[in-house]
């Protein structure tokens, strides 16, 4: 039960969110910050992790928001060792393409953001699979929209599922919660995604993918080349 994208803010707010998440059955959550807030948030990270160690495991995700490919590469290189997961908010086709081609980035978040389509095609899907970049779908986008806008987002989700089944790129599902009102139980979360068109095993696989990303990044320092890692 892994959620890699809960919007982080102050210490108190994070504590309340994490406590609520642990009550609802989540095992591990990541608070996401953008590149401007990440350094400030690192100040209280150890304290927060210690205070919550009896309830839930936490980590930080760096969520890059930029439309400049050069800047994205620079930020990725700078924060690669500090963040347990690096995601990039998509939406712009150029950025989506740049993201799935960059092996240093873990997650392409919301490729459908502010678009009329899913933001992915067969080429991007293949690139995502080859470079092991996960595509993230956010529950909050559906939660906070309504009527035609909501149905368009659900339709974008379905287009993504179709590509996912064909090209088998890593897919992760996250809540994107900003407040305690946005956090749901794990079973509700699963129920929603099964209703939107995924099978139960695919939902479970997405949780496993999130776990794999975190485990892979723990060992990233030992990685020499793709497929070559220092064991001792």
């Amino acid at each position: 039960m892994f959620d890699l994208n809960i919007r982080g803010s102050s210490y108190d707010s994070n504590f309340r969110l994490a406590f609520e998440a642990s009550k609802y059955g989540w095992k591990h959550i990541n608070f996401s910050y953008n590149q401007n807030e990440f350094d400030d948030a690192m100040i209280f990270f150890d304290g927060l992790k210690n205070d919550l160690k009896d309830y839930i495991a936490i980590d930080y995700t760096l969520n890059i928001k930029s439309n400049n490919p050069h800047e994205i590469r620079k930020i990725t290189r700078r924060y690669r060792d500090d963040a347990s997961c690096i995601s990039l908010t998509g939406g712009n086709l150029k950025i989506n393409r740049d993201c799935v081609e960059n092996i240093q980035i873990d997650v392409l978040s919301r490729p459908y953001f502010k678009r009329h389509d899913s933001g992915l095609n067969h080429i991007l899907a293949r690139e995502a699979r080859d470079n092991n970049v996960a595509v993230e779908l956010v529950f909050c986008d559906v939660l906070h929209s309504y009527l035609s806008h909501r149905s368009k987002i659900l339709s974008n989700f379905r287009d993504t599922y179709q590509l996912y089944r064909k090209y088998e790129f890593p897919l992760i599902l996250s809540s994107g919660a900003k407040s305690v009102y946005d956090i749901k139980t794990v079973s509700d979360f699963k129920a929603f995604f099964t209703q939107s068109g995924l099978s139960e095993s695919e939902v479970d696989k997405s949780f496993k993918t999130s776990e794999n990303i975190l485990n892979f990044n723990k060992n990233r320092k030992n990685l020499i080349l793709k497929g070559v890692r220092v064991v001792d």
Binding site: H144, S179, Y181, K184, D188, A191, F192
Partner: protein
Amino acid sequence: MKLKILPKSQRKHNHYLVLDIKSEIELSKNDFTSIVWDGCIRFQGENNTSNFNLWTIKLIKSDEISFLNEYKAILRCQRDFEDEVRSSLALIHNVNRKRISITCIGISGTIKGCQKFI
């Protein structure tokens, strides 16, 4: 004249969802029922919602001191449609521009069985 109660084999099979509700405003049982129906009709449509056999059994205000209004509720729904109801309720996020969150914390085949979740 009152209708005779159906034999057991002919009755609909129900399951009971235990819900955790957080709200910025105070809710009555009637308010809650209309919120649930609106949510289901909005997400699943009129045709699907007609299968759910929804009925609010109980709405209990939580005693815990909190900065928001917390409730627990028991909602009846037809067996095999739990996931549809759950996902519809999970997508309710505001009522009259005030925040609300409904999430299912337990499920049981009997009302008595729901007590352990409350």
